[in-house]
C-alpha cells in the first residue's frame, strides 16, 4: 500500500516534470534552460561518482578523465567529415576517423561504453589499492588521459580542441538520461546487490566472509560509475558544443566531488540536491559581482566575489552538517504523510477477557429478544451458547456481529466497545462469523468465496488493480491470498472442489466453506452458528476435532451455537444457556448437565 502510493506519487511528479520540460521553452529563457541542462548533467556526473565513492567507498579522483573520454568519443562520432577536415589544421586527421559518423544517441551510448571500458581497464590493477592510494592513482590516470588527448592531434586535434559539435543536449535529452540513470541506480541500490555494495563500503572483510568476491563488486561499481562519467561528459560536450583537453582538469573532478559532499556521500537524493544547489547558486550569485546599490550605498562589483561567497556557504554547510545535506538518508514520500501509529498488538498486550457482554438487552418494539445478558469469554476458550429455539442465541450473535444495535448494555471486544458498530467494522476489529442459514456467494467458485474473505487484510487499493503490472503488489498479494485460501480449503477437505460453483456443493461442504471463508478474514474471535447442522455423526466427529485445531492453530477464541449436544459437551470449555432471552445458566459441561433448570428448559430429563 505504502509502496504503491509512493510509486504513484513518483510517477505523477515525473509526469508533471516532463510536462514542465515540454513547456520550458515557453516558460524559461535560454539562460535558465541552459542551467536546467547543466543541473541534469551535473546530477548524472554526481550520481556516477557517488556510486563509486559514496556507495562502494572507493575514493576516486579520476572522473574528469572519464568525462574527457566520453566527450571526445561522442564528439568524434557525430562531427561531419567536412567539419573534421576544416578543424584538423595542424595535422591531418586519421583517414578512418574522418568518415565515422553516428547518430547522437548512439554516440553517447558508445561514449559511456568506451569510458566504462577504460574504467574497467584501470580498475583491475588500481582497485587492489585502497583509500588514499586509490585516489592518487585515479588522479594520475585522469591526467594521463588528458595528456594523451593533447598529444594525439591526429586523433583528437590536440590542444586546439573540437568545436561545432551540434547542440544535441536538449532538456529532454539531458533529463531523460538522468531519469534513466536515476531509475537504474535506485533499482540497483534497493536490490540486495545494492546492499552488498554498501556492505563493501562499510566492512570489506566481513563482506568477504559472506562469500562475496568484493573485488568483483568494486570493479563492477567502478566500471558502472565510469559509464556515467562518460555519458555526462558526452552530454556536456554536446551542450557547450566545443571541447578541449583543458576543460577536463582536476578542478572538474573537484566540482563533482563538491556536489556529492554537499549533498551527502552515499545518498542519491543528496547528489540531486547538490547538483541543483551548486549549479544554480554559482550562476545566481553572479549578481554580487555587479555593482550593487542598496539605498544610497554603492558597492562596486568585484570579480571573483561570488566564489568567495559560494565558498563561505560551502564552509557553513560543512560546519553545520558535516555529513552533507542529506547524509546517507534518502528522500521518501513518507515524510509528507504522518506516520500512522502502529496499533499495539492487542492480543499480545491485552490480558482481560476477549469478549465482555454486560447487561445486554435487545428489544424489538414490545418483544424482548435478549434481556440482561452478561458473560465474559477469556482468550482461547471455546464457549457454547445453547438453549431452545427462540431463546435468543442467534439474536445474541447478531448483536455481537453488528447486525443489530443493542437496546442497552455493553459489548466489549478486547477491551474496546463494539456495541453498535457496523458489521464490516466488527469484522475489521477481528470478529468473524458463519450463518445458521448458509450465506455463500453461490455463483462464485469455492476458492473465490474464501478469497473475498481475505480482502480486508489486503493492502492494495482498488485503483492499483487497473494496472497490476505496474503495481505488482496486486499480483503478489492476490497470489498469497490464493495460496492461503487453498490451504484453508484443504484443511476443511474442500481442495478438490476449489473451482466448483459454491452453490453446487452439498450442504455439509457448504457449511465448511463458510467456516473457511470466515477464517480467511484472519479473525481473533469466531462465531459459529450451528456448524454441525446437517452433518452426519462422522462428520460431526471431524468437526469437533477441527474446531479444537482451529483454536490451537489460529489462536482463536470461539463462540458456538449448537444443538448437537455431543458436539457441545465434547468441544466446549464453558457453556452459556439462554431461554426466552434470559440467561439461565453458565458453567462447565458437567455443571450444565447437572443443572436442573437447564435440564428442565432445554436438555430434557433423558439427556442427563
Amino acid at each position: 500500500m505504502r509502496r504503491a502510493r509512493n510509486l504513484l506519487l513518483t510517477i505523477i511528479s515525473a509526469a508533471l516534470f516532463a510536462l514542465f520540460l515540454d513547456k520550458a521553452p515557453e516558460l524559461l529563457n535560454g539562460y535558465w534552460q541552459r542551467i536546467l541542462n547543466l543541473i541534469a548533467i551535473n546530477a548524472i556526473l554526481a550520481l556516477s561518482l557517488n556510486l563509486i565513492y559514496g556507495m562502494t567507498g572507493m575514493f576516486s579522483l579520476g572522473h574528469a578523465g572519464f568525462m574527457a573520454i566520453g566527450a571526445y568519443v561522442s564528439a568524434l562520432l557525430i562531427l561531419t567529415p567536412a567539419q573534421k577536415n576544416a578543424m584538423w589544421i595542424l595535422e591531418d586527421i586519421y583517414p578512418w576517423l574522418l568518415h565515422v559518423n553516428t547518430p547522437f544517441i548512439i554516440s553517447i551510448i558508445i561514449a559511456g561504453l568506451v569510458a566504462a571500458f577504460f574504467g574497467w581497464l584501470i580498475a583491475l590493477p588500481v582497485l587492489r589499492l585502497g583509500g588514499d592510494y586509490l585516489g592518487i592513482a585515479t588522479l594520475g590516470f585522469a591526467e594521463i588521459i588528458r595528456i594523451l588527448i593533447t598529444n594525439t592531434p591526429r586523433l583528437t586535434n590536440g590542444s586546439l580542441g573540437l568545436k561545432g559539435i551540434p547542440a544535441h543536449t536538449t532538456l529532454f535529452m539531458s533529463w531523460g538520461c538522468l531519469a534513466i540513470v536515476l531509475l537504474c541506480m535506485v533499482c540497483m541500490l534497493q536490490s540486495n546487490f545494492g546492499g552488498v555494495m554498501k556492505a563493501v563500503r562499510d566492512d570489506e572483510v566481513a563482506t568477504k566472509m559472506m562469500g562475496i568476491n568484493t573485488f568483483r563488486v568494486k570493479v563492477l561499481a567502478f566500471t558502472l560509475g565510469c559509464f556515467g562519467g562518460g555519458l555526462g561528459g558526452a552530454l556536456m560536450g554536446n551542450l557547450i558544443t566545443t571541447i578541449d583537453p583543458r576543460m577536463f582538469m582536476i578542478t572538474q573532478t573537484y566540482n563533482i566531488l563538491m556536489i556529492i559532499v554537499v549533498g551527502g556521500l552515499g545518498s542519491v537524493t543528496g547528489s540531486l540536491i547538490g547538483s541543483v544547489l551548486v549549479t544554480t547558486m554559482l550562476e545566481w550569485l553572479r549578481f554580487v559581482e555587479n555593482p550593487i546599490t542598496i539605498g544610497s550605498i554603492n558597492i562596486p562589483g568585484i570579480p571573483g566575489m561570488r566564489m568567495v561567497i559560494f565558498s563561505l556557504l560551502l564552509i557553513v554547510v560543512i560546519i553545520f552538517r558535516r555529513e552533507g545535506i542529506m547524509g546517507m538518508r534518502e528522500f521518501s514520500w513518507d515524510i509528507f504523510f504522518p506516520k500512522r501509529k502502529a496499533k499495539p498488538k492487542e492480543s499480545d498486550s491485552y490480558s482481560g477477557p476477549v469478549l465482555e457482554v454486560k447487561n445486554l438487552c435487545l428489544k424489538f418494539g414490545g418483544l424482548t429478544a435478549i434481556e440482561d445478558l452478561s458473560f465474559n469469554i477469556n482468550h482461547g476458550q471455546i464457549i457454547g451458547l445453547i438453549g431452545p429455539n427462540g431463546a435468543g442465541k442467534t439474536s445474541a450473535f447478531n448483536v455481537i456481529s453488528g447486525f443489530y444495535k443493542p437496546t442497552s448494555g455493553e459489548i466489549k471486544f478486547m477491551g474496546h466497545q463494539i456495541g453498535g458498530l457496523r458489521p464490516d467494522q466488527v469484522c475489521r476489529a477481528g470478529i468473524a462469523r458463519t450463518f445458521q442459514n448458509i450465506r455463500l456467494f453461490g455463483n462464485e467458485s469455492v476458492i473465490r468465496n474464501v478469497m473475498v474473505g481475505a480482502r480486508i487484510r489486503q493492502k492494495y487499493s482498488w485503483w492499483m488493480t487497473l494496472l497490476p503490472f505496474i503495481f505488482t503488489d496486486v499480483i503478489r498479494e492476490d497470489s498469497t491470498v490464493r495460496a492461503r485460501a487453498l490451504e484453508f480449503l484443504s484443511q476443511l477437505g474442500l481442495e478438490d472442489v476449489a473451482h466448483e460453483k459454491a452453490s453446487s456443493l452439498p450442504y455439509g461442504a457448504q457449511r465448511r466453506l463458510e467456516i473457511a471463508r470466515a477464517l480467511a478474514t484472519s479473525p481473533k474471535f469466531l462465531l459459529l452458528d450451528e456448524p454441525a447442522a446437517g452433518m452426519n455423526p462422522q462428520e460431526s466427529e471431524e468437526l469437533m476435532k477441527f474446531i479444537r485445531r482451529l483454536r490451537d492453530e489460529f489462536d482463536l477464541t470461539i463462540l458456538l451455537i449448537e444443538h448437537d449436544m455431543k458436539v457441545v459437551m465434547n468441544v466446549c470449555d464453558y457453556i452459556q444457556v439462554l431461554d426466552q432471552g434470559v440467561h439461565i445458566a453458565q458453567g462447565t459441561p458437567e455443571e450444565i448437565k447437572a443443572n436442573p433448570r437447564v435440564v428442565e428448559a432445554y436438555l430434557g430429563k433423558g439427556a442427563a
Binding site: 539562460y31 589544421i89 595528456i147 593533447t150 590542444s159 561545432g164 559581482e289 555587479n290
Partner: protein
Amino acid sequence: MRKLLAALMLVLMLCSVAAADDDVIKIGVFNCLTGQNAFGGQLELEGTQLAHSLFPTILGKKVELVIVDNKSDKVEAANAVTRLIENDKVNAIIGTYGSSLAMAGGEVAEKAGIPVVGTSCTNPLVTLDKKFYFRACFIDPFQGAGAATYAFRNLGLKKAATLVDMSNDYSVGLGKFFRDSYKKMGGEIVASLLYQTGDTDFTAQLTSLIEADPDIVFLPAYFAEGAIVLKQAKELGAKFKFIGADAMDNPEIVTLGGDAVEGFMHTTFAYDPSMPEMNDTAKAFTEAWNKVHPDKAPNVNCALGYDCYIMLKDAIERAGSTDPAKIRDALETIKDLPTVTGMTTINATHDAEKDMGIVEIRDGKKTFIGIVKPEV
C-alpha cells in the same frame, strides 16, 4: 541557522533586481576576470571601460556595459554569454581572452544572433563558420608567419627552432604556422621541441636546442613559462636569439625577467606606449590611460579591449540602429577604421587585418622596433 540563511538569501535576491531602461544601448562584456587567464582578461576589461568612459553615448543613447566573469572556464563562458543575451538583453558583446572560451560563448551568440567582437582570441576556429563572431585581433597563422618573416627577411636568420607548449592551442598553432612559413621562405627548422603548461624545468629542451644550434628560437609561450625559459636559457649560456608572440606582451616583463629578457623580441599588435609614431587614436588612448592608471603602462590587451568598443561604436553608428542584425552587417564592412592597434579591416573570415609590430627589450625597456607585413 536555516532561517538566518533564508533571510540572507532573500536580501541578496532583492538586491539583484535591477531596473530596466529602454533608452540605453547595452554592451555585454564577458571576459576572464578570475581564473588562470585573469591577468589578460582584466587588462582587456580596463581597456573597454576606458573606451566607454571616453564615449559614453552612441547615437545619442547612453551605453551601459554589462560585465560578466567567465572564470577562464568553458562551461562558465557559455553560461555567461547566455546570461548576457537572455537576462540582460544586450545588443552586442565584447570578449574574450582565450580562444576556447570564445568558442564556447560564440556558439550561444551565433544561435541567438547577437554580434560578438573578440578581443584577443586568436585561434582560427573561433570565427570559422560563424556569422556573428568578429575579432579585433589577427589570427595565429598570421602572427606565426609574421614572426617567421621578421626572422628570415628582416634579421636574415636562416636556421630556426620552435619551443611549443603542447597543451596550449595558441602555442601549438603559432608554432606550426611559424615553421610552415619559415620553410616556405627557404629557412631551415633545426628542432621543434615541446613542453607542457605548468612546467618549470626546461633544461632538457634548452640543452637540445643548444646542440641543434639555431640562429633563433620561436617561443610562442605564455608569460609564466616564457619568463622561466628565458631565465634558464641565459643560465645555460644559450647563444641564439628568442622571438615570442603577443602572449609575451606583458607590462611587467622587464621587472619580472630582469636581464634574462634583454634582447628578447616578440611580435605584437602595432601598438606600444614606446612607439615613436602613434596614430591619433593611439595617442588619445595612451593619454586617457595614463590619466586613469598613472601607475601602470598600457599593453596590447588594453588596446584590444579599447578597440573592440571602437569597432562596435563605428558599426552601430554606421548602421544607425541598435538592432543586433544590423550591427552585425555593419561590423562585416569595417574598412580602414583607425584603432589603437593600427588601421583595422575586417576580412572575409571576420578576422582583423592590421599591421603587426615587433617589440624588443633593449636596455631594460620595451622598445617598438618596427612593423612587419607577414608573408602567409
